[in-house]
């Protein structure tokens, strides 16, 4: 009997030790070359800021200036309510005293400068595809924006989701930290589109179904699913008949610019701000995104909920 307890105790200790080791947020920075980067290209940073839709979550709600990144927007989810933090250059409340490496690590590995995991409500799962140079450009652009005072409220998450350390386990299971690798068999345009859609654009973060732990299910990536914010259903954007099979490349690019679908419906919900952001890109970039989207294999999405009668 005593032996049994002892063995059990050892197992529990081993388990705790394993949890501690495997959820350690200390990172191998993806950016050893930070010190050797050329001066940042602020214009490229501005483009990535639009492509990434940063202001859609981080702009202070209830005012019109989308470049005041005071945070505070509530993001409901099945795990509780997240609040987008202040990412303005304010030195106390924002990211004003971050270094480039802090920013790159946050965006590419989801770890804060103080060594804590970020929740994947912040889509570093996609942003990680941006190379350190691009992230440094983006950081340089954000630093040109107005400094906004005030901290956003903390996340409102029930147990056990309030244990940040557990995000380390989630990352072990679901987080792929590899950067973007162009496919040399595809055109330059396709690769540009693949980068914009999957990296900064983070389209799959909404246009995919998620598992019980909130991770995107790879087999139905881009095939739509219930809105993670809890309102309605996000469309399938693969080449499935229920998706974008009947949309031409230029129709997709046009929708990303004007918000009008081929049948002249106007997209709504959180796609409206997405269009406002992507409209700031060049026609060539939108065509590249469309080129990549037209290449997505047809995948049936999860069944839509029955219409309420």
């Amino acid at each position: 009997m005593r032996r049994l307890f002892l063995t059990l105790g050892i197992f529990i200790l081993l388990g705790l030790a394993g949890f501690y080791v495997f959820t350690d947020p200390r990172v191998v920075s993806p950016a050893p070359e930070i010190g050797t980067l050329p001066p940042p290209d602020v214009e490229n940073g501005k483009l990535l800021f639009a492509a990434g839709g940063c202001s859609s979550c981080h702009a202070t709600p209830g005012q019109d200036d989308k470049l005041r990144l005071g945070g505070g927007l509530a993001l409901p989810s099945p795990f509780g309510t997240f609040h987008a933090p202040n990412i303005s250059p304010h030195t106390r409340d924002g990211i004003g005293n971050w270094g480039v490496k802090d920013f790159v690590d946050a965006m590419a590995t989801g770890v804060s400068p103080s060594g804590q995991h970020y929740y994947p409500a912040f889509p570093y799962t996609s942003y990680r595809l941006m190379p350190p140079k691009a992230l440094a450009d983006l950081f340089a652009y954000i630093r040109t924006l107005p400094s906004v005072e005030g901290r956003a409220p903390g996340h409102d998450l029930p147990f056990p989701f309030n244990i940040r350390r557990a995000v380390g386990g989630w990352k072990l299971l679901f987080f792929d930290g590899t950067p973007f690798r162009p496919d040399p068999t595809k055109s330059e345009e396709w690769n540009r589109g693949a980068y914009l859609v999957q990296g900064p654009g983070h389209c799959a973060e909404c246009h995919s179904n998620r598992n019980a732990l909130g991770a995107i299910i790879p087999s139905t990536r881009f095939a739509g699913g219930p809105d993670p914010e809890g309102k309605g259903f996000v469309p399938n954007i693969t080449q499935h008949a229920d998706g974008l099979a009947n949309w031409s490349k230029s129709e997709i690019a046009e929708m990303l610019k004007t918000g009008f679908t081929p049948s002249f419906d106007s997209v709504g919900g959180s796609m409206a701000p997405v269009v406002r952001n992507i409209a700031q890109l060049s026609d060539a970039d939108r065509m590249a995104m469309a080129e990549f989207i037209k290449s997505l294999p047809a995948v049936a999405g999860p069944p839509r909920p029955k219409k309420a009668e």
Binding site: D227, K231, G232, F233, V234, P235, T258, G259, F260, S263, F264, D265, S266, V267, G268, G269, S270, M271, A272, P273, V275, R276, K307, A308, E309
Partner: protein, 144 residues
């Protein structure tokens, strides 16, 4: 015989009109579809795929203004769901804001009709009026 057919046809027409009258979801869908069809024509002109045609342009803004006028009444408390609707709950939580948004669309549609004298003035008026589509859908419509 002919008289019977005519009367029957008249009755059916009248009946379907009554059905449509009592189905605000179908009515607002029709209104939105009309706006979409007008926008298709307007976009073709703005992009230079169709010639600038003053009568057609006036029609487009009239369709917008008419829809904006009719829509506020087509979202009664009894038609929140059921049928095919992507109306968002915010419509009923914020009736004031919803009506203001539609009033703005109507004003800009009327002003657009008055301003659109040639292709350039049409382009800017059309651009301004159609901005209302996205800004209203962003708040008052759920994803589908």
């Amino acid at each position: 015989m002919i008289r019977t057919v005519v009367v029957a046809a008249g009755l059916i027409l009248g009946l379907s009109a009554v059905v449509a009258q009592s189905d605000p979801i179908a009515q607002r869908r029709d209104a939105m579809k009309a706006v979409g069809a007008a926008t298709r024509e307007g976009a073709a002109i703005a992009k230079g795929e169709a010639a600038f045609d003053s009568a057609k342009v006036q029609m487009i803004f009239k369709v917008y203004a008419d829809a904006a006028k009719r829509l506020p009444a087509l979202y009664p408390e009894t038609a929140k769901s059921g049928g095919e609707t992507t109306a968002g709950p915010k419509i009923w939580e914020d009736q004031g804001g919803f009506k203001t948004a539609l009033a703005k669309f109507e004003t800009e549609a009327v002003a657009g009709g008055a301003a659109a004298k040639d292709l350039d003035s049409f382009r800017s008026a059309f651009g301004a009026a159609t901005k209302n589509c996205g800004s209203c859908h962003e708040v008052y419509r759920i994803k589908k």
